[in-house]
Symmetry: C2
Subunit: 239 residues, 2 copies
């Protein structure tokens, strides 16, 4: 009885070599707004330890990102590796090509995202947040609302990630970060409209309010509506 479910468990142990994985992870930090332009990355020695990668490998990854224009390094005390003020613009890959590449992966990613994000909103609202956490949420919300169009995707991701953070479950946060990276690639192929942003901001407000009000049902419902919007937008553009 060897079922077809073994696809999930006999999947690749690792997506690429440590070098590629490291590059991807650093890009994740930048593209999801975990580190913003001007921020300093942790020192190489510390970062290498945290990523469980040798310093050599980490340095190669940083070098690649430097060449790609994402970061810059300065030596000496109080030096470090800094995120560039002007990030490279994501190449607008033709949507149809992307859709073909991701193939059935689109439904996969959308399903997982739905489960994780609605679940995170509900879980966040089910806890009583510390003042620091409440403040953090509000701050991320404000920054997203104030974001210029070019920065919107990054700060939007940052806000959603913040919601995952206040669930207190690091694994949940990681999972959301991963699935969001997969979807952002697609979203970058779609033009961002001013009125979409306004609508999005209103929904963000509603979700955060529900979380701060400790109302799990409302949090889940508002998040669900929010996601439905993006999903419809995505599907419309990819067909």
């Amino acid at each position: 009885m060897v079922v077809q479910a073994d696809d999930a468990v006999f999947r690749p142990v690792r997506a690429g070599n440590p070098f590629e994985e490291t590059v991807e992870r650093l890009l994740q930090a930048i593209k999801l707004g975990v580190v913003v332009p001007g921020d300093r990355l942790p020192p190489e020695r510390e970062l290498a330890t945290r990523l469980n990668v040798s310093r050599v490998t980490l340095r190669e990854a940083i070098h690649a990102l430097t060449e790609a224009g994402y970061v810059e390094s300065r030596r000496g005390r109080y030096g470090g590796t800094f995120v560039n003020e002007n990030l490279p613009k994501p190449r607008r890959t033709p949507a149809k090509r992307l859709a073909r590449d991701l193939a059935g992966g689109l439904d996969d990613a959308l399903t997982l995202r739905f489960v994780l994000e609605t679940g995170a909103a509900e879980a966040a609202a089910s806890r009583t947040l510390t003042p620091a956490e409440r403040d953090h949420l509000e701050r991320c919300l404000a920054e997203t609302s104030a974001a210029r169009l070019a920065d919107y995707r990054r700060l939007d991701s940052r806000l959603h990630l913040a919601i995952a953070e206040v669930t207190g479950s690091p694994s949940l946060t990681s999972a959301m970060a991963d699935v969001r990276m997969r979807l952002n690639e697609l979203l970058d192929a779609i033009p961002l409209l001013e009125r979409n942003i306004q609508h999005s901001n209103e929904q963000h407000r509603a979700v955060v309010d529900a979380i701060l009000a400790d109302d799990p049902d409302a949090a889940r419902r508002t998040m669900q509506e929010h996601l439905a919007g993006t999903e419809a937008l995505l599907r419309a553009f990819l067909e």
Copy 2:
């Protein structure tokens, strides 16, 4: 503005070396009931490709599992690597020790599990399943109900995994497999009682019924109740 959220994105790129990861993955297949005693694993060449690991590394992993008594290999055509009929009993590690090891990881795992499993149940009920999928669910349910005590954990995991499968999202299935492995280690420290199993089987029936009836709300709700039971049990034993 380097926030504390970087924990999630600067987490280890890989948990261990390819060898360890491969062992872990094969154990996952066995302990979650994806392959049952008597089953043959895919041929080494194919499995190595799917796991994205060299054949040497895969063979070392298989060798380790052979020594541990999980599998046995036979050469020649129609040979292969087979799951043993009598699997090693999981060592009953003292619960308190485990709880200390997992530390805050318990809440982490429980939160993620809750989100994934309730979400999976809902997502599964939101689709119209193919006859094959419906049959698969029923079969897993029946096998779990009929399971002897020693096999229960494996077949229970298998059923929950089957629910994830019928969402059509491989990533969701993988995520559930991972978090379940983390929790099973804890569950193994808890004695399994006959009446707990009966109750569990009734709940399984309710969840599967809701999914087959295309009733997302009921699916989520019944799954939620089911999980609450195990969670309470776990927490009671670990404190």
